[in-house]
């Protein structure tokens, strides 16, 4: 009898236990992070009356180097954005000028989308900024997920708390919510089209939605992605902007 009781107690105990949130985040990092990435993307910005489509090609290396070149529409063609650690440079072919985006300008929207330059600049690891805890399990798009609640442990973060839904099997985030200090939901990110690319699970579509604004948000789709490529050093230099 006491063995049965011990079995039942331990079964319920372990059912209530969730894995360590930091370990989950590390597994997500291992899955999502590569030495570098080369991709082509399509960004659909849904406006009140119509939608704009912007295509681009990008190169990223680690968390602190990224170059994006816009391919279309014609008015954005040739515009380049270079992120080097905490600096963001934009090259405009029409004026043949390179400008440094800083201060409040970083808070402006990127090409009218629901993304700010600052959102693009975020490169610190979540485990450095937040205390994470698994608070439950939910099903998202038919996939079992861990629900992680993140609370800021440092002062200089944009969002005081976050909630992330992570696929229990593939260790890919499927949904994320970003909250203000007051608890107001500010932004919502949904990841779709998770595919296995070069041995890692990767969401090819991300939908960003500013929850305070009306509209359907901004849809970012990777049309082509390659990991761990040989990217020449000059790509991540200011000189490359004018090439």
């Amino acid at each position: 009898m006491k063995y049965i009781l011990f079995f039942l107690i331990s079964t319920f105990w372990f059912q209530g236990e969730y894995p360590d949130a930091n370990q989950i985040l590390e597994k997500v990092d291992q899955n999502m992070t590569a030495k570098n990435q080369v991709y082509q993307s399509k960004m659909v910005i849904h406006g009140r009356r119509s939608a704009r489509v912007i295509t681009s090609k990008g190169w990223t290396e680690g968390d602190d180097k990224a170059l994006t070149e816009y391919l279309s529409p014609a008015r954005e063609e040739g515009t380049k954005m270079l992120k080097l650690e905490d600096q963001l440079w934009i090259y405009s072919p029409s004026s043949d000028r390179t400008i440094l985006i800083s201060g409040h300008m970083l808070r402006q929207s990127v090409m009218g989308s629901d993304l700010s330059y600052e959102d693009m600049m975020e490169d610190r690891k979540l485990t450095e900024l937040y205390d994470a805890e698994v608070v439950g399990e939910e099903t998202v798009d038919g996939r079992n997920t861990w629900v992680l609640a993140l609370e800021a442990k440092v002062e200089d973060v944009s969002y005081q708390s976050r909630k992330i839904w992570i696929d229990q099997e593939r260790f890919v985030p499927l949904k994320e919510e970003l909250y203000a200090k007051s608890g107001q939901l500010l932004k919502k990110t949904t990841m779709k089209n998770v595919e296995k690319i070069e041995g890692r699970w990767f969401p090819k579509t991300v939908i960003y939605k500013d929850m305070l604004k009306e509209g359907e948000g901004t849809e970012f789709t990777l049309t082509e992605v390659k990991f761990d490529q040989d990217i020449p050093d000059y790509i991540f230099s200011k000189a490359a902007l004018k090439r």
């Binding site: 409040h104 002062e155 973060v157 969002y159 203000a180 200090k181 107001q184 500010l186 305070l212 009306e214």
Partner: protein
């Protein structure tokens, strides 16, 4: 006196030609006085309103604050040193944020001000609200662009001193109507303490507005902007408007003076026998020149009388009812009332009369100089010289 009577008789005898000159000249009078009166009226109203609603007796700015560079707002705040005479000052904290009326995002400046202040005309008493929703005050222009009305609740988003986003609802407790657009467009006024708590900038302000009796002293990290310095931009606009007006009425006055000049040239050409007769009767050349100059100059005196007949009632009417400015003319950051009441100073009226009389006399004298070179005998015979 005889010369003056003779000049006036000759002038009136010229009939329609004289009255045409007088009509154009009197119009120039009215336009000059009205335009300058309008600018002076605008200047007086704008200065009065700017002081009443925004500038007070001067402002003490944080050293990093630049009203034309919103990027400075991130750093432009601090506490006032103990040595400052804070009794005669009211603090204002400014930060950037966003407002979401009907789901649209709009950048705004959030301004914190003590609800019990009485230095500025802003109805800040409406911010002394103890409901659970933060009270807010906006101007009529802001209300128009955001389609917000009194009692509406709307969401605002801002960042605290560390850059962390925060958002909450506010309720519009009052919509004020001010001619000063620079305290209205894209601005939301909140209780100072509330904004300080929202941003984590307790006891801090971006600027302090000075009241009467404030004695500016040198304070570390703060710079005092005198009332004159704050009004310098308005003065510059007024000066440029006066300059552009000068061009308009110079053209009008030029047309009138040209008409007088032509009349004089024609008179001297056609009245040679008369000139010869004056000389034969014993008038010196200079006296004849004086007579013709006086005739021309008397146009301006007649224009003063005629201009007074229709101008005084017209200008007084406009001074009482005001001149309606085009809608939205104050949305460009300038302080302009919906109606401007022209102000006609004694200096303006006397100065305008002096300007027109001197100018008309001068253009009358220039062709009359020819008389001094005339041969009296040939003139008497009416021969062209």
């Amino acid at each position: 006196m005889l010369t003056f009577k003779l000049a006036l008789k000759n002038l009136l005898g010229a009939g329609m030609r004289t009255w045409l000159n007088v009509a154009v000249l009197s119009l120039a009078y009215i336009v000059i006085i009205f335009y300058n009166g309008l600018i002076d009226g605008w200047n007086q109203q704008a200065r009065h309103d700017s002081i009443l609603w925004e500038y007070g007796q001067g402002q003490l700015w944080h050293q990093s604050y630049d009203p034309y560079d919103p990027f400075t707002l991130q750093e432009a705040h601090g506490t006032l040193p103990q040595s400052a005479d804070s009794k005669a000052l009211i603090p204002i904290l400014i930060t950037q944020g966003s407002i979401y009326p009907q789901g649209r995002m709009q950048s705004v400046q959030l301004k914190g001000i003590p609800p019990h202040q009485q230095l500025l005309a802003l109805p800040t008493h409406s911010l002394d609200n103890t409901t659970h929703v933060m009270p807010a005050l906006i101007g009529k222009r802001m209300a128009n662009t955001t389609k917000l009305r009194k009692g509406d609740q709307v969401l605002i988003r801002w960042r605290d001193k560390n850059g962390t986003f925060d958002a909450r609802e506010i309720v519009i407790t009052e919509i004020f109507d001010s001619d000063v657009s620079s305290i209205d467009n894209g601005q939301v006024w909140l209780p100072l303490q509330g904004l300080q708590e929202m941003t984590g900038l307790q006891e801090q302000a971006t600027l302090w507005v000075a009241g009467g009796g404030y004695q500016p002293t040198s304070l570390e990290h703060w710079k005092f902007q005198s009332q004159d310095a704050l009004l310098a931009n308005l003065d510059a606009v007024i000066q440029s408007k006066k300059a552009s007006g000068f061009i308009i009425y110079t053209l009008l006055l030029g047309i009138a003076l040209l008409a007088i000049f032509d009349t004089q040239v024609l008179s001297i050409f056609r009245r040679q026998k008369e000139i010869g007769t004056y000389m034969a009767l014993g008038m010196t050349r200079l006296q004849v020149v004086g007579l013709f100059t006086l005739e021309g100059g008397a146009n301006s005196l007649l224009a003063t009388v005629v201009g007074s007949l229709y101008g005084v009632p017209l200008l007084l009417y406009l001074a009482n009812t005001g001149f309606a400015m085009p809608a939205a003319s104050d949305n460009y950051g300038l302080t302009i009332a919906e109606r401007i009441y022209p102000v006609y100073s004694v200096g303006l009226i006397l100065g305008t009369i002096a300007l027109v009389v001197i100018a008309a006399t001068l253009v009358s004298f220039l062709p009359s100089r020819k008389i001094a070179k005339m041969n009296p005998t040939l003139a008497l015979k009416g021969k062209v010289q």
